[in-house]
Amino acid sequence: MSSNFVEHKSVPVRLLSYSFILLWLVIAAFPFIWTFWGSFKVELDFFSKENWANAITGVRTFGDTGSAFTADGYRGAWIKEEFWKSVLNTTIVCFFVVCTSLTIGTLGAYALSRSGFRYAFWLLIIALVFRAMPPITLVAGYMLPFFEWGLWGHLWTTIIVLVAINQPFTLWMLHSFFKKIPKDLDESAMVDGCTSFQAFRYVILPVMWPGVITTGLFSFLLAYNDFAVTAMLLSKENQTMVPKIAGFLGTTQTEGNVMFAVAAVVSATVPLFLLVMFFQRQIVSGLTAGAVKG
């Protein structure tokens, strides 16, 4: 799998390359590790105005709780503020967004990649232009009709909106995957008597699986991290994680609880950790299968 041209690198080049990666890892992961460590401190330590080193040593945490570590942030977020409810909502939203997105996205992208007509090109371009629309404007526009028709506040409304907003990206990505799969494959299946849909379902999809998973991961990340849509379209009881965390931060006139937010953010990253670890091979092999090489 790894290309063998790298194996001939001389020692200085290899050193350079390793130290570059090390530097990048520090830059990439440091803020998160800092946050993880700090989530077990009190606010006055983690956001210390005296000395940033307090976030490491936990002076005030020790003074307040008798130990250099405290799980108060986690307790507050999970038990007092019932963060688990938002986790549940996020799980539902992500699951259905990924499934729906992929189902209609693969169908559409497959059609685009198998149509030689000019309109397919224009459809792709139009999808791209659609993606240029700022999401906040879209969301502001949805509000009145959604209230009017009683659609506002439900999880499934948000799911459909997220699917629709993410379609252009999904289409582009999947389209380029399909391009890489030889046309003979489905054409010969159709010669053998399959309908277009059967060819798609039983011949193309299995080959496409890694590509579908990669696109699914990006859909997942979009749904998981979304704030603009979920904050405005969900009622409090259906709130997902990100708007819930935003709620911990307080407002102009009222104090929030920043440490709840920090603990919640760390907790929210755990499933992503597992997911990335689990799928990282899939991402790569998925992209390898042809990926975004339009």
Binding site: Y18, I21, A28, W34, G108, T137, L221, I245, T269
Partner: protein, 341 residues
Amino acid sequence: MKHRTFFWFFLPTALAMLLFIFLPIISVVTQSLFIDHEQVFVEVENCDFFGCKKASMVDNEATEQLRREQPLGRFVGLDNYINRSHLAFTEVAEIWSGSDSVGNFFKQLFNLPLYRALIFTLVFTFTVTPLLIILGFCIAIGVNSLSQKIKGVVIFFSLLPMIVTPLVGSLILFWMIDSRGIIGSSLQLLFDDPDLSLKASATLTWVTLIVYGVWHAAPFAFVVFYAGLQTVPQDTLESAMIDGASRWERIRYVILPHLAPLVTFVALIQLMDNFRVFEPIVGFNASAHATSLSSMIYSDLDGESRLLSSAATSSVLTIIGVVILLFPVLIRTWRDWDRKY
């Protein structure tokens, strides 16, 4: 594929986009051509805990009549596009005739909200996009040369900047870059300047936002390029090596051309995303020094002022901006299409 089959395959995704993107775009374009009715005021007395006070309020009965006659408001054509909050034609013309030097002209031009936002947005887009592509490429090359065992962990840590919710990520970074935070005070030591503050000056705020932008988006480029590297045809590489090509030459003549379509894809997505930069400006409380089209829309849509026509106009301008920005890429895709069919 036959038109009929194409239609059924494409219908679900088309419906989703029509309903949730196309219709809103139509309504936004319409909205941008109208402004509210002239409001009829009445002078009234308002009382609360703190006493009574004379104030004006909207006379709803009188306004209701106007609303019923013209439900969309007053049609003003392109006036919203050329008013001071947007393209500001009148003001720009005045500045042009009134300023004695080019420098002075630009200084005054950037005092107008749209141009102020545009200059930051463009600088941000055109520094962040190439930088993140280069950085992503370097990481991909570097990671590719690691041994199989540690690759997984490295990839996973490399993805972190893209994964952590920007909402809180920026809050924590905002604190870290404070003059007393760990990054801020390290920089003070590094530059031997105890008064250095990344937040107080416009230039340093821009630099901070750009660095954040690159940091946040580099993992995306990295994943895409890393995957692309896996498909570099080995025989081409080997024959290049036999021909005595140096490492640099191999990257230049074999790997880069192979990755070119990926670079296009990443550039396409990132140009668009960076042009709509918004979250870091809010997260870093940076609006004193940096605004963007998206942050203008955000403040127009505020629950109390609700400048819907202005927000609609800025949104249409954003779309037009993105189309102009992506034009070269679109032309390229057009040519590719011709070549393939």
